[in-house]
């Protein structure tokens, strides 16, 4: 009989655990592993990695036999847009300063919903920029350059 994946969530999660576990064993066995008496830096990660591989494998096997109904549909737009908004913040904060960064990043975050209104988004972004400057630069005196 051909194996059928009955629980895709458990299957993917199992694969994730399995691959991270294998990766951890691969990398950590490069550190000194040592013995139980003198544990090296590699000992603990290798043990955890082995357990992770076992759990991952068990989860994959279980996903072939136990049916789990339902599951969430992946919402691609919010993932990409929210991810991008944070990434843009990370890339620009050291280059163009707090106010423009907050404006661009907030504008992008407004686009994550299903029907963004352009004018409203601009207003929200502008208000947040002013608030961020007021609270963090002038209020808490954190070392942000404004522009």
């Amino acid at each position: 009989m051909k194996p059928v994946i009955r629980d895709s969530g458990g299957f993917v999660a199992g694969l994730l655990f399995l691959s991270v576990g294998l990766g951890a064993i691969g990398i950590a066995s490069g550190y000194r592993v040592g013995s139980a008496l003198h544990m090296g830096p590699g000992y603990f990660p290798v043990v955890v990695g082995v357990l992770l591989v076992l759990v991952g494998a068990a989860s994959v096997v279980r996903a072939l036999s136990v049916t789990v109904v339902g599951g969430e549909r992946v919402a691609l737009r919010p993932v990409l847009v929210i991810g991008a908004a944070v990434a843009v913040f990370a890339l620009s904060i050291d280059r163009i300063g707090l106010v423009p960064t907050v404006f661009i990043s907030a504008l992008l975050a407004c686009m994550a919903g299903s029907k963004p209104a352009v004018l409203e988004s601009c207003v929200i972004a502008a208000v947040l920029s002013v608030m961020a400057a007021g609270i963090f630069h002038y209020g808490l005196k954190l070392p942000f350059s404004l522009f």
Binding site: I27, S35, P78, I82, F89, L91, V102
Partner: protein, 494 residues
């Protein structure tokens, strides 16, 4: 008596104008996020953590814990008025609270839940005052082997008792342990899993993971569900409960308080599990079960008391043993470490002002919530008309600035973006982030103690079973695992 002297110190600390203000601020903020669906105490604590670094340790803890219990206090308001739980621990309040509101009894439901919350919260604080010092003095005698076993029990209890599926929970906990090893190994100086990046040499700051897997992932998940639907609030007439309501509620409040206080102590359970357990207890005990789901006041009083008692006793393992019983406590523990205070058995004697000040502020905070919430119900309901699409950019920006300001590092923000996407993937795969963050916090503690224990025993693993406390703890761990395996037997969704 000693206790009164300590309490006097505590109230002395909590009643200084600054700390009182932070308590009020925390409780108010907690109420706000407790009322607003889609932003919970975890997101808020993660978001505001960096802002607290410049406060004194006491002030920051007072404020952060105010957010936590405040949110649990207030989550029931929206559950009753709108059938929308403000936070997960008030899901069960919807079952009977909202039908009560539909029958025009919103006032009594709100009032009983406020009284129940205050009673349960106060009882939790009392338990904390009575039992934390003895618990800490027992724990003071713990050496490395006991600590290793204790952390193991905590980790296993977390994966067994947490929501979600057992196997996936174990996987998440192990992932957390691995993430905890990133950075320079303290004993050998070896760089582990840093991929030659100097940004990872000090390890991953827990705030990055918290903001990523809680705040960002929650934003994405909520947006993916098409924002949050709103219903019209039920009418609110008189606030005062009738005599019959009080008579029907006092026993459920007592039972809920007892149940919640006990469950709050266990790693992995906490307020949400407590409120569910209290609801089913009340339903079991009821003479007429048909009333449940149709506005039975016992179904509001019991769970609401349980939820708030647990929200307080949840702190006890963290403050006395250094073992966080849930995700929020893991964040609090992280906040204390940043402030240079290591929670654990020594904290009560070394930083009595912090411990007793926090304790006193919790009682004051509960009092404030009782006084503030009821008259302001109308205001909180108004706030609900704030659309989620405005909250999204605000939460995102606050989180980004927060993460950045920890180390002034843009790399950290990028890493948080990665953890956000990963956290969303976890939520799609139905993997709970809670075991991950607890594993991350406890991982280094486990590794260090295990190393030390085995060094002292000359590599003999027997050290964990020959010492009585350690053996007891390990037996508990095995029992928990056995129980989990039993409930995972074929035919059930483990």
């Amino acid at each position: 008596m000693d206790l009164f002297a300590h309490l006097a110190t505590g109230f002395g600390v909590a009643l200084t104008p600054d700390n009182f203000l932070y308590c009020l601020l925390g409780a108010t903020f907690g109420t706000l996020v407790g009322v607003l669906p889609g932003i919970g105490p975890l997101t808020t604590i993660a978001m505001l953590l960096p802002l607290t670094f410049k406060m004194t340790p006491v002030a920051s803890l007072i404020m952060l814990s105010g957010i936590y219990y405040g949110a649990h206090h207030a989550g029931s308001t929206t559950a009753i008025m709108l059938n929308t739980p403000g936070d997960p621990s008030s899901i069960v309040i919807c079952l009977d609270g909202h039908p009560m509101a539909r029958q025009g009894r919103a006032g009594p439901a709100l009032c009983i839940s406020a009284i129940g919350s205050f009673f349960a919260g106060s009882f939790g604080v009392l338990l904390m005052a009575l039992f934390s010092p003895p618990l800490a003095s027992v724990a003071l005698r713990f050496a490395a082997p006991e600590y290793t076993s204790l952390v193991l029990v905590a980790l296993i209890a977390t994966v067994v008792l947490a929501r979600g599926r057992f196997l996936l929970n174990i996987g998440m906990s192990l992932l957390g342990l691995l993430l905890g090893t990133v950075g320079t190994d303290i004993e050998s100086g070896t760089m582990r899993f840093t991929f030659a990046s100097p940004n990872l040499a000090d390890g991953i700051n827990f705030i990055i993971i918290a903001v990523g897997v809680f705040a960002f992932a929650e934003l994405i998940a909520n947006l993916g569900r098409g924002g949050l639907a709103r219903t019209a609030p039920a009418p609110l007439r008189s606030l005062l409960p009738q005599r019959s309501d009080l008579m029907a509620s006092w026993k459920p409040i007592l039972r809920g308080t007892a149940l919640g206080s006990a469950l709050g102590l266990l790693p992995g359970t906490g307020p949400m599990v407590s409120s569910f357990a209290a609801y089913s207890l009340e339903r079991q005990l009821a003479a007429d079960r048909g009333r449940f789901g149709n506005g039975a006041i016992e179904g509001v009083a019991g769970p609401e008391a349980a939820n708030n008692a647990a929200a307080i006793t949840h702190f006890i393992p963290m403050l006395t043993l250094g073992i966080p019983a849930g995700a929020a406590m893991a964040l609090m523990l992280g906040a204390m470490l940043v402030q240079g205070i290591a929670p654990g058995p020594r904290m009560i004697s070394e930083h009595p002002d912090v411990f007793w000040g926090l304790l006193a502020s919790m009682w004051l905070g509960n009092l404030m919530l009782l006084v503030l919430n009821l008259p302001l119900v109308g205001v909180w309901i108004k706030l609900l008309s704030l659309p989620y699409r405005i909250l999204v950019p605000a939460i995102l920006i606050f989180c980004c600035i927060g993460v950045y300001s920890v180390n002034n590092s843009a790399f950290d923000v990028m890493l948080a973006a990665g953890f956000g996407v990963l956290g969303y993937a976890f939520s799609v795969l139905r993997c709970q982030p809670m075991p991950l963050i607890v594993g991350f916090i406890l991982g280094p503690v486990l590794e260090q103690n295990m190393r030390r224990a085995l060094l002292l025993s000359r590599g003999d693993l027997g050290v964990f079973v020959t010492r009585p406390i350690s053996l007891t703890l390990l037996v508990m761990a095995v029992c928990l695992l056995g129980w989990a395996a039993y409930s995972m037997r074929p035919g059930r969704d483990g």
